[in-house]
């Protein structure tokens, strides 16, 4: 077996990797470092939550891995290749559900199948049969049975966010990018959706990058939490979260859970303090 092969077998579990990545925004003299030299390896099936003060580059990491942003320096690898070299069909969901108003919920959810291969090749043929069933099955899992033919404006914010998760997952992506998906929802809806997302993740185990401000959300969902410092962003803490799954709301009342969130809160608070001192 050659050395490269050895390396390949060793890396089979690696899905995303940042190597000495730096991101600088702005032009000319007016630039700032959004993400300081960062090295990060994420294994396939990880649920990574990123927390930190606002403007610390959480979303920047997300966009780097999704190929929406080029690093100023360094290299980003996804699925063993440099990002952007080959599209892997990354699922993505933002706080704004962006359901297209001229389509039904089901058509919205099927949109990725129209674009991602191999589904796109048979979209015309399967959209009324196999893909339709696939969308309906997913809708059922998030508790939206019967809402496939509705229009987005007929659904509440929480329902739209459920549909948004469906759209991000319909093509069974290896990578799922969530940028504060539940940020605009009320506490109860949010906690409901944590459970929904956890169930979906347990089922197919995609690698998830979750950006959130909610430390309880991070602790509830993630298998690994990255704490980031204020600008320029750096990963200051990398912590495994070992709570048994499926986690329930009961989990959030356990001492270890509250200890974890308190720890995280302290670290982010310290990061904010140091930022205020430097500015």
């Amino acid at each position: 077996m050659t050395a490269t092969n050895d390396l390949a077998t060793h890396q089979t579990k690696r899905i995303a990797q940042l190597e000495d990545v730096q991101v600088r925004f702005g032009q000319g003299d007016d630039t700032f470092l959004a993400l300081d030299r960062t090295n990060l390896v994420v294994n396939s099936g990880d649920f990574v939550a990123m927390v930190g003060p606002s403007g610390c580059g959480k979303s920047t990491i997300l966009k780097l891995v999704a190929g929406l942003l080029r690093p100023t320096e360094g290299v980003v690898f996804v699925a063993g290749r440099e990002v952007g070299a080959e599209h892997v069909g990354i699922g993505m969901a933002f706080q704004n559900p962006t359901m297209l108003p001229w389509l039904t919920i089901r058509q919205n959810i099927m949109l990725p199948l129209k674009i991602v291969k191999p589904y796109a090749d048979t979209f015309r043929r399967d959209k009324h049969t196999a893909f339709r069933d696939r969308a309906d099955a997913l809708l059922a899992k998030v508790g939206l049975t019967g809402f496939g033919d509705r229009r987005p404006w007929e659904l509440s914010g929480g329902m739209l966010q459920r549909a948004n998760l469906c759209r991000a997952l319909i093509h069974s992506p290896q990578l799922l990018m969530l940028d504060e998906p539940f940020g605009a929802l009320d506490q109860f809806t949010r906690e409901e959706l944590w459970a929904v997302l956890q169930d979906l993740w347990i089922e197919t185990k995609p690698t998830v990058f979750l950006v959130t401000h909610d430390l309880r959300e991070a602790a509830f969902l993630a298998s690994r939490i990255l704490v980031m410092s204020a600008r320029p962003g750096r990963v200051t803490e990398d912590r495994q979260v070992e709570f048994a799954r499926p986690r329930t709301l009961e989990t959030t009342f356990e001492a270890e859970f509250t200890d974890l969130t308190n720890d995280l809160r302290r670290m982010i608070f310290a990061a904010r303090q140091s930022k205020e001192m430097t500015t």
């Binding site: 190929g67 929406l68 990354i90 704004n96 962006t98 001229w102 990725p112 674009i115 229009r151 404006w153």
Partner: protein, 259 residues
């Protein structure tokens, strides 16, 4: 309940329009306005009716010319708008040119078209096209610019190329803007056609009106105006209906308000 209230509103509007014509009629009679200055609406309508056989080919000519110019303007405007909307360079290049061109009075352009293509239908079509294209381009470009950046990110992360983003999100999102511009464009196309016809043509409502005014047949000139107005309103209505059919999703709030 909703239907009856809507038809009530329509009835009210129709009543006011009729009343406006009635006031015009009465004022003409009351102040003994000469028909050479301002003919009474009844005289205009009767002229329109009596002269219809003679007017008809001209109406057909103007309508046909306008529709051809408008259709070309729509196709070119849509393509240009899409191009300008997705490319920053195209936007920066085309916008000043477009604004500059649309600022030129079309009266000044007609003689040039006549010089190039001779008098008749071709310059009229071109004038209609150039008059109606600007709002279409601007609206389509604006509509494309309203695409949410998040939606674009979602599609790009999936591996969609520019064309797929344009086709699946950009263009549908721009449709309400596009159809709104069509309603304006169709009336502008009429203006362009008639303008060209009054300058250089031997057929069309514009020509008829020129000849009518030069022979002091003011009721006929007004009949021509009315024919144009009626055509304009009719085509506006057609595009309003198409708009409602195609982009009802954009008007949902109004419908909810009525419910």
């Amino acid at each position: 309940m909703r239907v009856s209230r809507k038809s009530q509103e329509n009835l009210k509007a129709a009543g006011f329009i009729v009343a406006l014509f009635a006031i015009w009629e009465i004022a003409c009679v009351l102040f003994e306005v000469s028909p050479i200055v301002l003919p009474r609406p009844s005289a205009i309508f009767s002229t329109l009716f009596v002269q219809m056989p003679a007017l008809w080919p001209h109406i057909v000519q103007t309508l046909g010319t306008t529709m051809i110019g408008f259709l070309l303007g729509t196709v070119i405007g849509l393509a240009l708008g899409a191009f300008v909307g997705i490319s920053r360079t195209a936007y920066n290049t085309a916008y000043p040119l477009l604004v500059g061109f649309s600022s030129i009075p079309k009266v000044a352009v007609v003689p040039i078209f006549v010089l190039w293509f001779g008098s008749g239908t071709v310059p009229a079509v071109l004038t209609a096209l150039t008059t109606c294209i600007f709002p279409i381009v601007v609206n389509v470009a604006t509509g494309l610019a309203t695409t949410e950046p998040e939606m674009e990110d979602v599609l790009k992360a999936l591996g969609a190329n520019r064309l797929q983003v344009l086709w699946n999100v950009g263009l549908p999102r721009a449709m309400p803007y596009f159809f709104a511009s069509l309603k304006v464009a169709i009336t502008l196309a009429f203006v362009g056609t008639v303008l060209s016809e009054t300058v250089a043509a031997n057929r069309g409502i514009g020509t008829v009106m020129m000849m009518a005014t030069s022979s002091f047949d003011v009721p006929l000139a007004f009949a021509g105006l009315f024919a144009l107005a009626i055509l304009g309103v009719a085509l506006y209505a057609v595009f309003a209906v198409i708009e409602r059919r195609v982009c009802g999703w954009a008007n949902r709030k109004q419908e909810f308000a009525l419910n």
